[in-house]
Subunit: 228 residues, 2 copies
C-alpha cells in the first residue's frame, strides 16, 4: 500500500487525499509537520512541501501537481467509480487545470496563506507569534470575491470545472475546508457556493477530512455538519 505524507490543515494535502479516495486508491496517511524540516522528509522531497506520495511501484511522487497528474495518467477511469481528475478532451482538461491553478496558486496566495498559514503554521512554525491582523483582513476581503466566483461557476456548470467532477472541485473544496475548520467562511452570504460545497462535503471521500482534529484548534461548530 502507498503512503501519503500529509498535514491535516494543509489544503494541498487535502486535495490529494480527496483525489486518492475518489480514484479508489487506499493509502496509509502519515502526518508530517513540514515546519520541522525532518531529515527523512527532506530526503523524500527537497522542496520540503506537502503532500508526498510514496508508492510501491513508482517510488516517490512529490507535490500536489505531480501527484494529481500522476493519478490522471495511471488510473483506469473505468475501475474507480468513473472519477478522473482531468476529465474530458484537451479543451475541457485545460479549463480544469486553469481552475486548479486558480485555487492552488491564486486562492492560496490571496486567502489560505493569510487565514490558515497565519493562524496555524505561524503558531507552530519557527517564527511563531500572533497572526498579522492586516493580513487576516486582506484574506477575509479576498475570500468574498472568490466565493462569488465559485458561486458564478457553480450556477453556470454542473461542477466548477465543467460537466464532470474534477480535481478543480477537489482543490477548491480542499482550501475552503481548511478555512471552514477555522470558522472563516461566511457561507450565509454565498448560497450558490454553499450549495456546491454541501455536495462535495457529503461525498464519502470527504469523511476522513471531517474527522481531522488539530491540537490547539477546535473546529467550527458546523465543520463536520453536513447540514450547515
Amino acid at each position: 500500500m502507498a503512503t501519503l505524507l500529509h498535514y491535516p490543515l494543509c489544503a494541498y494535502s487535502r486535495s490529494i487525499r480527496l483525489a486518492l479516495d475518489e480514484c479508489g486508491i487506499e493509502v496509509a496517511a502519515v502526518e508530517e509537520r513540514p515546519w520541522e524540516w525532518r531529515q527523512g522528509f527532506i530526503e523524500l522531497n527537497p522542496a520540503g512541501t506537502l503532500p508526498v506520495l510514496v508508492t510501491d511501484e513508482h517510488g516517490v511522487i512529490a507535490g500536489a501537481y505531480a501527484i494529481s497528474e500522476y493519478l490522471g495518467e495511471t488510473i483506469d477511469a473505468t475501475g474507480n467509480r468513473g472519477f478522473h481528475p482531468f476529465p474530458g478532451d484537451a479543451v475541457e482538461r485545460a479549463e480544469v487545470r486553469r481552475l486548479v491553478d486558480w485555487f492552488h496558486r491564486k486562492f492560496h496566495d490571496e486567502v489560505t496563506s493569510y487565514l490558515v498559514d497565519e493562524k496555524v503554521f505561524r503558531r507552530f512554525g519557527p517564527n511563531s507569534g500572533s497572526p498579522d491582523t492586516e493580513a487576516m483582513r486582506a484574506g477575509h476581503d479576498n475570500l468574498r470575491y472568490h466565493l462569488a466566483y465559485i458561486g458564478h461557476l457553480a450556477e453556470t456548470r454542473s461542477w466548477i470545472g465543467g460537466s464532470a467532477l474534477s480535481f478543480a472541485d477537489l482543490a477548491a473544496a480542499a482550501h475552503l475546508s481548511t478555512l471552514d475548520y477555522l470558522g472563516e467562511v461566511p457561507w450565509e452570504d454565498y448560497e450558490a457556493a454553499k450549495n456546491w460545497y454541501a455536495l462535495l462535503k457529503s461525498r464519502p471521500s470527504f469523511r476522513p477530512l471531517l474527522q481531522d482534529r488539530v491540537a490547539g484548534f477546535i473546529p467550527s461548530g458546523t465543520y463536520a455538519d453536513l447540514d450547515f
Copy 2:
C-alpha cells in the same frame, strides 16, 4: 495562427514562449501589461495572469500550467524535432513536474518575486515605488541556494529533469533569464549551473528572448552574449 499574450520580463510567459518554439509551433506574440487589468484581457483570463494562448482550434488556454500540459497532450512528438514538454514514463514525468513546480512556485516565491517583481512590476504597477531592499536581499540569498541546486541536478543528469530536455529546463531557464536580464545572477560562483544555462541559451528557441528589451531597463552586458 495562434496568439500568445505575454510580457517580456514575465518568467511564466517566457517558459511558454520557449516551449512553443521547441514544439515547432509558431504564434503571434502580443505584449500584455497585466498590471493594467485591461478589460479584454480579463475576459480571456479572469485571473489576470500571463501567459494566455488564444488558439484557432481550441479557444483560450490560460496560464503556464494549462498551456504546458495542453502542449504535451496535443503535440505529435515525432513532428517537432522530438521535443516533448513531459517526456518519458509516468515516473519520469512526475519528476519533471516536481521541478516545474519547484521553479514556477518555489523559485518564483523565493527569488523572482523579490528581484524581478519588486524591480519591474513595482515600477509600472499600481503600487509603484522603490524596491524593498530587505526583500531584494532575501532574493539574492535564496538565489544562491537555488543555483547550487540547479548545479547539483545538472551534474547528476543530462538535463535537470532527467535524460531529456523537458519543460523543467525551460521553466528554470525562463526564471533565470529574467534575473539575468537585470544582471542579478552571480554566474561566476556557480559553474555547473552556468554551463547548463549556456546550453539552453544557445538553442534557437532562446533567440527571441535575448532580443527582448523593456523600456527603462537596460539588459546586463552579457544578457544576449552566448559566451557570458
